[in-house]
Every structure is written in C-alpha cells, then in structure tokens.
C-alpha cells in the first residue's frame, strides 16, 4: 500500500507540476493560425464540399452516418436548420459559418475573448469536419485534439490581449501544468502508435513505403526521376522515420537527447510538408510539438509570478522533471 501511495504521489507530482503559460500561448497562437489557414485553403470550395444539395457529395450522407453513431455529435446540419428559421438559405449559412470560423481563429491569434473564441473555434471546426467526414483526414482530427485541450486549459495566457488589455486572469492557473502534461502525453502516444504501425509494415524496412508515399498522386511533388536517384537512401530513411516516432515518447524526456530528438521530429514534419505538399498536416504537428515540448527544450522559460506582473528569476521546470 505504501508503494501504491508513493506511485500516486509521484504521478500527482508529475501531472500537477508548476508551469508557466508559454506553452499555452504557443498552442493558442498556433491553433488560431492553423484554423485560419485551413479556412483559407478551402475557401473557394467551402460551399461545394459542405453543401447538402448541389455540392460534390451531399453533406447529408456524412451526417446520416454520424447520426447512426450518435445523435449528439455536432454537425453543420444543425446550424443550417437554425438559419432556416431566420429565413437564411443553406449557402448563406455555410458562408456565415466560414466567416465565423475565420473570425474565431483570428480572435485566438490575438488572444481576445480567448475562452469563448476557443470554444467557438472547436465547435465550428468540429461541425464542419464531421459534416464532411468522408473528405477528412488525419490533420483534421489533430486540429480537433489541439482545440479540445485549448478550450479546457486555463485561458487567457500572459501574451494574450485578454491579459494585457482586458486585465482578465485565468481562474485555475495551477492547472497549467496538468494540461501541458495531457498534451505531452497525447503527442507521445500519437508518435508511439504511428511508429509501431509503421515498424510492423514490411515496406517501412526496405524503403518501398517511402518510395510509394513520395511517388503516389497527389503527393508526388518530387518527380520519380529525381526520387529514384536517392533510392539507396530510402530504406535507411524509412527506418529512421519509425525509429524517430517510436523513440519519441522515451527520448523526449531524456536530458541530453530530448533536444536533438525534438528538432529531428520537427525537421521530419517540415520534410513531409515540403516534399508531399501536406502543409497543413505538417503545421499542426509542428504546433502540437512546439506547444507540448518547445518551452524548456528549445528555449529556456522563466516562471512568471502568480499575478504575471513580473517574471521570477527561477527557471520553470523542464519537461523531464
């Protein structure tokens, strides 16, 4: 029993360690930028992809499948129906949703009405994502994960306009450490499962999968003629990818290896963005990594005084404490 009690104390110490809000400022700013870029990237096709009738595929199909799983998952159909009560057509409602999502993202960027902006961004993004579930991919879920944690974290942070201008203060600053641990744990699990799944695939040992990933449309930004010149590097690069991913949850906590490991992972995502054109996927992974582990690994952070008025001299605890 004493052993269990000891473990519990260590777990509580790990989860509720004192923490500055630098990571939260990064997460807020990064997710705000991510959502704005997401909206801009599909601006011209927004209505076409999300229409109930007259679009690429009917939104109603995704929403029907969703309703069979659970009637409580947010979807755009609710907002369209609400707009209908006010005499607004579907196209108008979808446009309003787009503008609201961009506005909520900008509010997040600035840190103005941070909590409300985080909730609105999470809800609208989730509704759009679920209503176009057949057209969604990993990047969308990763954005939802980030927004979910952001919404629950103790906002606002010191760099937000809420703090600087509106003099608003979070109620539970003591939970900053807890929510950062949640984000860190999740990022570790993402890499662990992604790495394990790749390690089990034969093609990630002999370079075949890397060749296929880089040469299959629509990710074939590098011509196969160029790629084939580097064919001898493909097996080692393929193995390096899953070793980096599986090693992440272990070495990111190691005092000397955490910095090179994080930099290597960030470079991997930059590489994915540049060579495969998956810019939004790369950017959300970079945002999640920087928020989870950047402060304390890539740069030192100072622990702010409780009221945030002046920084104390001591360094904030590093992620491996």
């Amino acid at each position: 029993l004493r052993r269990i009690e000891l473990w519990k104390q260590r777990l509580v110490g790990f989860l509720f360690s004192p923490e500055s809000d630098n990571w939260l400022a990064l997460l807020r700013f990064g997710l705000g930028l991510q959502v704005v870029l997401y909206c801009l990237s599909i601006r011209t096709d927004w209505t076409y992809l999300l229409a109930g009738n007259g679009g690429l595929i009917s939104r109603n199909l995704s929403e029907t499948i969703l309703a069979l799983q659970s009637p409580l998952i947010p979807r755009l159909g609710w907002i369209v129906a609400l707009g209908g009560h006010f005499g607004l057509g579907e196209e108008s409602v979808l446009s309003i949703v787009w503008y609201c999502l961009v506005a909520a993202g900008c509010f997040l960027l600035l840190g103005l009405f941070s909590r409300s902006a985080a909730i609105a961004t999470w809800l609208l993004h989730l509704a759009a994502l679920k209503s176009a579930d057949l057209l969604s991919y990993g990047m969308d879920n990763l954005t939802t994960i980030g927004l979910f944690y952001l919404m629950l974290s103790p906002l606002p942070d010191r760099l937000s306009l809420d703090w600087q201008w509106r003099k608003s203060r979070p109620k539970h600053r003591d939970l900053l450490g807890f929510w950062r641990r949640v984000l860190q744990t999740h990022v570790c699990l993402i890499y662990f499962f992604s790495g394990i799944a790749k390690c089990f695939g034969l093609g990630w040992w002999n370079g075949t999968n890397l060749w296929r990933a880089l040469s299959r449309p629509p990710f074939d930004l590098i011509s196969a003629e160029t790629l084939v010149r580097f064919k001898h590097f493909l097996p080692i690069t393929g193995i390096a990818v899953w070793v980096l991913e599986i090693g992440y949850p272990f070495f990111i906590w190691h005092r000397t290896l955490r910095r090179p490991w994080l930099i290597a992972i960030l470079l991997m995502h930059v590489g994915v963005g540049v060579t495969m054109g998956m810019y939004l996927f790369a950017s959300i992974m970079i945002v999640l990594n920087l928020a989870a582990f950047g402060p304390g690994i890539l740069w030192h952070q100072r622990q702010p005084a409780d009221d945030g008025s002046a920084p104390a001299e001591s360094l904030a605890p590093s992620p491996n404490n």
Partner: protein, 203 residues
C-alpha cells in the same frame, strides 16, 4: 485533493480511450496488410480487434446509451481514430474517371474537380476511402453523387460511365527499368441523365 482526484480520473479515462482506439485500428490493419508477422497471427489480430471494440462498447450487445456516450466523447475530443498514418503500408492511389456520353455520340473524360490543392487532397482521401472494403455498400451511392456533380457542369450529357480503379505504382527498381504506373480496373457504373428541360436528372 478532490479537485486533483477528478483530474486524475479524467487523465486515466481519456488516455484509456486513446490507447484502446489506437490499438483497435492497429489490430484492424494488421490482418489486411503485408507485415513482419506471419499470416497465422491474423486470427489473433482479429480477436484483439473484437476485444478492443467490446472495450469501447461498440459491439451490438452494449447498452445503447453507454455506447452513444462513449462515441460522442471520442468524437468531441478528436480521438475516435488511431494514428497509423501511411502505416503499416502505403496503399495504391484510387482513381475515378467519368466518361461523359452526349446524344450526338461524342464522349469526353472528366475527373472530380475542385479548385485548390488542399481540396484536392480531400477528394483523394475520399477516393481512397471508398476503395476500401468497408465502403462497399456506400461506394455506388457516393460515386453517383460525384457523377451528378460532374453532370451539373455538363448537363447536355445523357449518360455518365464512372470507372473506378487503383493506380499501380512501380517500385524504384521497376521504375529504373522503364516500368511506369498503370491503372487497375475495379468497378464501373453507368448513370443515365435526362437532358435539361425534359425532366429532373435521373442518375
């Protein structure tokens, strides 16, 4: 302390779901892919997938309210799917081509079109999804919707033949020896449309 216990319980439950969902996806993929494990393990992976689904209350025998509660939570938190990006293996790219037939005998080819690279990635994701076996029942419905979208741009066409297949990519060695990508035919569907002014479209 109660305050901390609440957050500890949340942490445990939340990451329990993350872990089980990730394992379930992994166990689903393993019997369907070429992996480092021998094929005789496939039955174990399938059993493990069933077990993971049961733990997540996704089996038909689970109480509906609990099942819907778990499903709602994992969707709200964005944790309803795993993280096997491009794993265990990278599949071939699915391709959909529409052959438009006009009353005067002309034919022309079209692919589902969107106006940005980001939207193009989403359409490619959709095509890859409907190429999977679990979309067998929905494939024709979705292709019919895509054909209707093309017909709205070419409403004088009276018939659209949708040809769905997979782009087979050569390996790096095959590519060096002159082998190039080829298309493997999978499904074909014919949809008839009424010319504008006569009747509603009848895909």
């Amino acid at each position: 302390l109660r305050h901390k216990s609440f957050y500890l319980a949340f942490f445990a439950a939340h990451f329990f779901f993350v872990g089980v969902v990730s394992c379930r996806e992994l166990f689903w993929f393993l019997p369907k892919s070429r992996t480092i494990f021998p094929q005789r393990f496939n039955s174990y992976w399938e059993e493990a997938e069933d077990l993971s689904s049961s733990v997540l209350l996704q089996n038909p025998g689970a109480p509906a309210t609990l099942r819907e509660s778990v499903t709602t939570y994992v969707h709200l938190a964005g944790i309803e799917s795993g993280y096997g990006f491009f794993a265990p293996n990278v599949p071939g790219t699915c391709k959909l081509v529409f052959e438009l037939h006009y009353p005067d005998g002309r034919t022309e080819s079209r692919v589902p079109a969107v106006s940005s690279h980001a939207s193009g990635l989403r359409v490619a994701t959709l095509l890859d999804k409907i190429g999977r076996p679990q979309y067998d029942s929905l494939r024709e419905v979705i292709i019919k919707m895509l054909a209707s979208a093309v017909w709205r741009e070419h409403s004088d066409a009276t018939m659209i033949r949708a040809v769905f297949g997979v782009v087979m990519l050569p390996t790096a060695e095959e590519f060096e020896h002159g082998v190039r990508e080829s298309n493997q035919f999978l499904y074909s569907y014919d949809f008839a449309f009424q010319p504008p002014g006569s009747k509603q479209p009848n895909p």
